[in-house]
């Protein structure tokens, strides 16, 4: 199953209302430095390409770049690390956001239930904790609201370590947006928004990975 690049994945989901940080994909280290200067530091830089799925493991994600020089150096290094198997690559530059809470959301196809949408508690322990809930696509806003209620870790949704309570409507927007994206494009087989960092109470997707079936018809993004 082919995966889309991070930028294309985000574009597919953003088209259905999933909140994505403003970002730019550029070809060179100098263009990356310009993009960072435009959006303001600190920023994140990642190598971007259709065939790159596990960026973190390969050192292709650079966080907290504080100025144009640091960004230029990181971009140049990552471009140099690209292999022929990675295909066409660029550098994705996005504002560095931070928050103490992370959620995970996504789409997964199930043989018995068809496409499902998920919400869970994110972060590095996400798979161990497995505080997750699913619904069959399509969902209504009321279903999305109940998904939030399903999670065991309800304290995460209230005021937390000096940050405001999570904006439930914004989480609902994410889930309904994922559902709408799956309805609009039946070739989707999975999507991950991991993590969804909670910034000032609002979930923001800082990474996205969308998978499509090979035999999809042309069009879409």
């Amino acid at each position: 199953m082919p995966t889309l690049s991070e930028a294309e994945s985000k574009a597919v989901l953003a088209a259905h209302g999933v909140p994505i940080l403003p970002e730019r994909v550029v070809a060179t280290a100098d263009e990356a430095a310009d993009a960072g200067t435009d959006m303001g530091f600190p920023v994140v830089a990642k190598l971007n390409g259709d065939a790159i799925a596990h960026k973190t493991e390969r050192g292709l994600v650079r966080l907290g770049l504080a100025d144009a020089d640091a960004l230029r150096a990181a971009a140049a290094a990552m471009l140099a690390m690209a292999t022929p198997e990675d295909g066409a690559v660029g550098v994705l530059v996005a504002p560095m956001v931070s928050g103490n809470r992370e959620l995970i959301a996504g789409l997964a196809h199930d043989e018995q239930f068809g496409m499902t949408v998920m919400l869970g508690v994110g972060g590095i322990l996400a798979e161990a904790v497995a505080d997750v809930t699913f619904r069959m696509v399509p969902i209504q806003r009321v279903d999305a609201a109940e998904m939030i209620d399903d999670l065991s870790t309800q304290k995460l949704f209230g005021p937390f370590r000096g940050e405001p309570a999570i904006d439930r409507e914004a989480v609902i927007d994410v889930l309904v947006g994922l559902s709408a994206a799956a309805v609009a494009d039946p070739s989707l087989v999975s999507a991950d928004l991991n993590p969804l960092i909670v910034v000032d109470g609002r979930p923001v997707a800082v990474d996205a990975l969308v998978e499509r079936r090979v035999e999809r018809s042309e069009g879409g993004v």
């Binding site: 996504g106 789409l107 199930d110 809930t133 969902i139 399903d150 998978e211």
Partner: protein
């Protein structure tokens, strides 16, 4: 549109095909159970030798049935005999069949083909076919016990559909114990033609049924199953308990979402999305269904624990704190009103602990005050049966009936019965659930308290935490309906 299953559940006449003189055979037991439980329609039976079975002169062939007097065939004959038998039955007006015979889909490729042929044939003949390889069905409005297992339950409002015949029996046993009865029940067997959703769609339209109770193990097309159950649950509550793991679905392994998607997590989400109440255990499933059948839906989650003694109230409050229910902080006007009925030593918070301060009428009077307060949505009543329990000791002791014991024992029994009746009446007047819990429901069901709860048509919960679990399920379903504007 639900399939009309009335020939299956309310037949005007029945033929048992394959009746046997041997009391160990299904063909004997099925006929026995139909005859022994008051079914009022005509009962015929076939037997290749034409022997008399349980006083019925059997027919050697279905062809000998009178025309139009039988609409249900209960089939215990070998699988190979069934196609001809069903053709002959249809010619005599039979419109429904329960196939108890084995040797179908559960028995390899040949059986699977025979099962497919059976479905095609029944479609052609216009026969609604239950089974094969099932244990039977019951229908209390028709006093019909067409099953090869016991018991026959009291009449009530719970409709059961189960992929396991043995769990039908489990539910019927609970019905007999608790007195909360059954409208219809069916063991779906191999579900070749009629499957669990078909029965539930019939129950949704059935005036005899208030709530459906379901046991499933495998749901091959989960999406279609839950789309049908969603429509059913929008009409009447559906309580479901699931056994076994589903087939491990293949999900995209490249995604974290796929890695987190266990079969059970997806099944659970589908239940919630469809408004289906999923219970963890068979016992819990029965009790939740019994609660739906006998209590009004709460309009909110604010719960008052009402108890005659301390410890019970504390653990019940703990149990409530682990659910979607809220232990109501008693408003000032309610406190003040209760103060007029109780001495100052009562708890003055929730749990409302009467602390042994009751006079003859205190328990019903204060219960009514609490129940009618607009900020109270539901009550759990604890401590029933204490007086009658002491009464039993006195009645069975060496001093009875002297020393005034006969009079006081009678008073104890009357008081506990009265409290149980009050809970039912106040619930009806206030249109709010009031659940009564005491372990005496199982430890001494003859105690005047739990006995009167049963008499009042309510479930007497064997523990407070089980009452809390059921009430929590009721509130979750009520909340689901409210959020979608369902009445």
């Amino acid at each position: 549109m639900a399939r009309d299953l009335s020939p299956l559940f309310d037949p005007k006449g029945i033929v048992v095909a394959g009746a046997s003189t041997h009391p160990g055979k299904f063909g004997f037991v099925a006929l026995h159970n139909i005859l022994a439980n008051g079914y009022a329609g005509k009962v015929f039976a076939t037997n290749t030798k034409g022997e008399s079975v349980l006083g019925i002169d059997t027919l050697t062939s279905i062809d000998q049935l009178p025309d139009g007097e039988v609409d249900l065939a209960f089939v215990c004959t070998p699988a190979a005999a069934n196609p001809d038998l069903l053709r002959a039955a249809a010619a005599k007006g039979v419109r429904a069949a329960f196939i108890a015979s084995a040797g179908y889909g559960e028995a390899g490729d040949e059986g699977r083909r025979a099962e497919e042929d059976l479905v095609t044939l029944c479609d052609e003949l216009g026969i609604a076919m239950a089974g094969p390889n099932g244990q039977g069905l019951i229908s209390t409005p028709s006093s019909l016990c067409a099953q090869i297992v016991a018991p026959f339950p009291p009449a009530g409002r719970i409709g059961i559909a189960s992929q396991s015949g043995n769990f039908v029996s489990s539910f019927l046993n609970y019905a007999r114990l608790s007195g909360i009865g059954i409208s219809r029940a069916v063991s779906a067997g191999n579900s070749a033609m009629l499957a669990v959703p078909d029965y539930l769609e019939f129950y949704a339209e059935d005036p005899e049924t208030a709530v459906s109770l379901v046991y499933v193990e495998s749901v091959p097309d989960g999406r279609a199953f839950f789309e049908r159950l969603r429509a059913v649950a929008a009409k009447k509550p559906v309580v479901l308990v699931k056994g076994g793991a589903t087939d491990a679905g293949r999900r995209a392994a490249a995604s974290h979402t796929g890695a987190l998607a266990s079969d059970d997590a997806i099944f659970d989400g589908a239940c919630r999305q469809a408004g289906v109440t999923r219970a963890d255990t068979v016992e819990e499933a029965y009790e939740v269904a019994a609660t739906f059948a006998t209590q009004p839906l709460p309009k909110g989650n604010r719960t008052v624990v009402y108890t005659t003694a301390g410890g019970w109230g504390v653990v019940t409050a703990d149990a409530i704190s682990r659910t979607s229910l809220e232990l109501l902080a008693l408003p000032e006007d309610l406190l003040a009103e209760i103060d007029t009925k109780l001495p100052p030593r009562w708890s003055r918070n929730n749990p409302v602990d009467l602390a042994g301060s009751e006079t003859r009428d205190t328990i019903p009077e204060v219960m009514e005050i609490v129940a009618r307060h607009p900020s109270v949505d539901a009550m759990i009543f604890l401590g029933l049966g204490i007086q009658a329990n002491q009464g039993r000791m006195e009645r069975e002791g060496p001093f009875f009936p002297d020393h005034g014991l006969e009079r006081i024992v009678g008073y104890h029994d009357r008081q506990d019965a009265r409290f149980a009746e009050a809970a039912a009446e106040i619930s009806a007047r206030s249109d709010k659930p009031i659940l009564t819990a005491t372990e005496l429901a199982v430890c001494d069901p003859e105690n005047a308290g739990p006995a009167a709860v049963k008499e009042s048509g309510k479930l007497c919960y064997a523990s407070a935490n089980r009452a809390v679990t059921s009430l929590d399920h009721l509130w979750r379903h009520a909340r689901f309906r409210q959020a979608r504007g369902l009445s």
